[in-house]
């Protein structure tokens, strides 16, 4: 889903389908990866611009999802990125009921991260 480029983020087909549906209903969207309590450590999906990224946030990459006209930006706080930078993140979706203000929760669905270690080759090219 990320045009075959080496990147830090990707999305599963199930999640891509949900993103198309959210985009159609609400307009342009974005992700910011959360940390901490309760529904922390889960990706939060907002209307683009709803969450104001700051100077210390890291733009992890963009998701290109067929049927979504613009790329979907994925962000994380800088200090959190320090601890996460050696892993590749795939946004997936499961049934559930996250709290937080993420757009998909009322659908009874929750975005979830699946992670793997980046290979040395990937790390060198990032």
């Amino acid at each position: 889903m990320n045009s075959g480029e080496i990147g830090r983020v990707d999305v599963t087909e199930r999640a891509a389908e949900l993103l198309r549906s959210l985009r159609q209903r609400y307009g342009a969207i974005m992700f910011h990866q959360s940390g901490g309590c309760c529904d922390g450590s889960a990706p939060m999906c907002y209307l683009k611009g709803e969450f104001r990224t700051g100077v210390h946030d890291v733009h992890l990459g963009d998701l290109s999802v067929p049927g979504v006209p613009e790329r979907i930006e994925v962000w994380m706080s800088g200090p959190q990125f320090e601890y996460w930078q050696h892993t590749h993140l795939t946004i997936d979706v499961v049934t559930g009921r996250g709290s937080g203000f993420s757009l998909e929760a009322p659908d009874g669905l929750r975005f979830l991260l699946r992670s793997r270690l980046l290979t040395e080759e990937e790390l060198n090219s990032l």
């Binding site: 910011h32 959360s34 940390g35 922390g40 559930g96 709290s99 203000f101 993420s102 793997r116």
Partner: protein
């Protein structure tokens, strides 16, 4: 009694209604847009009630009610407000089993814990803030012979409160008790995973409160939480949850220039120094229990001691004993009073925990026990259970750095005091920490050097009302519990009075 009957079956001490609306202005009001959402129990995965799906229009109505009640509630005598809090405490105490079973069924936590901790603590918090309010005093400062500065406490007005799902009634109490004591009215949004048990509480206490003092709007974060947090008519917002939503809440608060308190979790270190194992005695046993407390409430606690740091001199033996202690508790039926580990609160929590166990393994951490989903069998097979899991690894692995919010602890060793403190502080968070040592000097120094708002020394997971709770670093802003919370829910009015009849001679 070995096991309580499930709500909805014969002999249950609590009955949930089939549907709950919003509680606004002292009565139940259907949702403006007519929608409802299902509430499943994580014990079996089956739906047991449904709740009004709140939207901006419902929040507006609740804020109207809270605004309408704010003036008279804020002017009531402290003795009267304290009396209401004491009466609430009595009702909770008289209905302790009912509320404990209601919460266990909704959240998945063992009823053993709700009976012994959540509900008695809720009772105590209401009583504590009744007492704190009665004893609260303003101050008088003598500026010069004829000038006096008086400082009065005044209510903020209408406060918004967004409650997490891990302790649905106790976390609501932590926020409600000081807010009501301070003379504020409240619009509260329970978590969408656990929206119903607060209504069991409301049914018990509604007659004690003037209409509009507490208003509850159910619903999802994006549909009901956002209109509440961004509402220009609230005078404060309080939130417990995670960092990204915390930032969003602070962003909305900055737009309205209102105070916000946010409690955003942690990755709390639990440090065991060599001298813990100097004798095989009651204290050693207490320390092992302190280790195993990572599984309390299935690990769904902001202060979960999810990083255990064990000194090298005792590492092998202590960790082996700690693993054995952990294995004594397996997930079971939450309504069985012998069960110590219940169900995770929702399917997405379960999936997230399993995803973390997966990345832990990929990063090379070793599983010492657990490591998978648990199936206690029977009707529980549809619920969300995880084996208590002990990982061994190093502090730079993601399982040491991120809040998993499950019964998962990551263990590592340290050589000396300096290394212990360095590892303990190598985290984004600073909510809780545990220090275990027979040396008062070691424990004192470590507790002072650890950057966390609550450091338990030779104990863990105790939450008395008269001790301040809150985080350093990215764990949040502000405190909960303790009488200082009254300040978080009150304005300071300074009246500066001149008792001189003479002009200043300046102008």
């Amino acid at each position: 009694m070995p096991q309580y009957a499930a709500p909805g079956t014969a002999g249950s001490v609590v009955e949930y209604r089939a549907r709950y609306d919003h509680f606004i202005g002292g009565e139940y009001v259907p949702p403006a847009e007519g929608g409802y959402f299902e509430n499943p129990t994580p014990v079996t995965g089956r739906t047991f009630t449904e709740l009004a799906r709140g939207t901006a229009a419902d929040v507006e109505k609740a804020v109207d009610a809270a605004e309408g009640a704010a003036r008279s509630w804020g002017k009531t005598a402290p003795a009267e407000r304290a009396g209401v809090l004491l009466a609430i405490a009595d009702r909770v105490e008289e209905n302790l089993e009912k509320l404990a079973v209601a919460e266990s069924w909704e959240n998945g936590k063992p009823v053993r814990e709700a009976l012994a901790a959540d509900m008695p603590l809720a009772v105590d918090h209401f009583r504590y803030f009744a007492g704190a309010l009665r004893a609260q005093e303003g101050t008088i400062s003598q500026i010069d012979e004829d000038t006096v500065a008086y400082h009065f406490h005044e209510p903020l007005g209408v406060v918004g409160q967004i409650i997490p799902w891990n302790f649905p009634i106790l976390m609501a109490t932590w926020k409600l008790a000081p807010a009501l004591a301070g003379g504020n009215t409240v619009v509260l949004k329970p978590a969408e995973q656990t929206p119903a048990s607060i209504h069991v509480l409301l049914e018990l206490i509604a007659d004690l409160l003037p209409a509009g003092v507490i208003n509850v709007v159910n619903g999802f974060g994006v549909e009901a939480g956002k209109p509440l947090a961004s509402n220009p008519r609230i005078n404060k917002i309080a939130f417990t949850g995670e960092t990204t939503t915390g930032r969003l809440i602070l962003q909305y608060a900055s737009e309205n220039i209102i105070p916000a308190t946010v409690e955003l979790g942690g990755k709390s270190p639990n440090i065991f120094f060599d001298d813990v194992a100097a004798a095989d005695d009651a204290f050693h046993d207490k320390a092992l229990e302190g280790f195993a407390l990572f599984a309390l409430n299935q690990g769904e606690v902001c202060t979960c001691p999810s990083r255990a740091l064990v000194q090298r001199g005792i590492y092998d033996e202590f960790v082996a004993a700690a693993v054995e202690r952990t294995e004594r508790s397996a997930p079971g039926h939450p309504l069985d009073t012998e069960t110590r580990i219940g169900a995770q609160s929702s399917n997405d929590q379960l999936e997230k925990i399993l995803a973390y166990i997966d990345i832990g393994k990929q990063e090379g951490a070793r599983i010492l026990t657990g490591g998978g989903r648990a199936d206690p069998g029977g009707e529980l097979s549809g619920g969300y259970y995880v084996e208590p899991t002990v990982f061994e690894g190093h502090n730079r692995q993601r399982i040491f750095q991120e809040e998993i919010f499950g019964p998962v602890v990551s263990v590592t060793s340290f050589g000396d005091y300096e290394e212990a403190v360095e590892i303990a502080n190598d985290t984004l968070y600073g909510l809780g920490a545990g220090v275990w040592s027979r040396s008062g000097n070691t424990a004192y120094r470590a507790a002072r050097d650890i950057q966390a708002g609550r450091v338990w020394v030779n104990n863990y997971h105790s939450y008395p009302a008269h001790a301040a709770f809150g985080g350093y670093k990215q764990s949040g802003i502000g405190r909960e519990t303790h009488k200082m919370m009254l300040d978080h829910y009150q304005q300071t009015k300074n009246m500066l009075v001149s008792y001189s009849v003479n002009s200043m001679g300046l102008f």
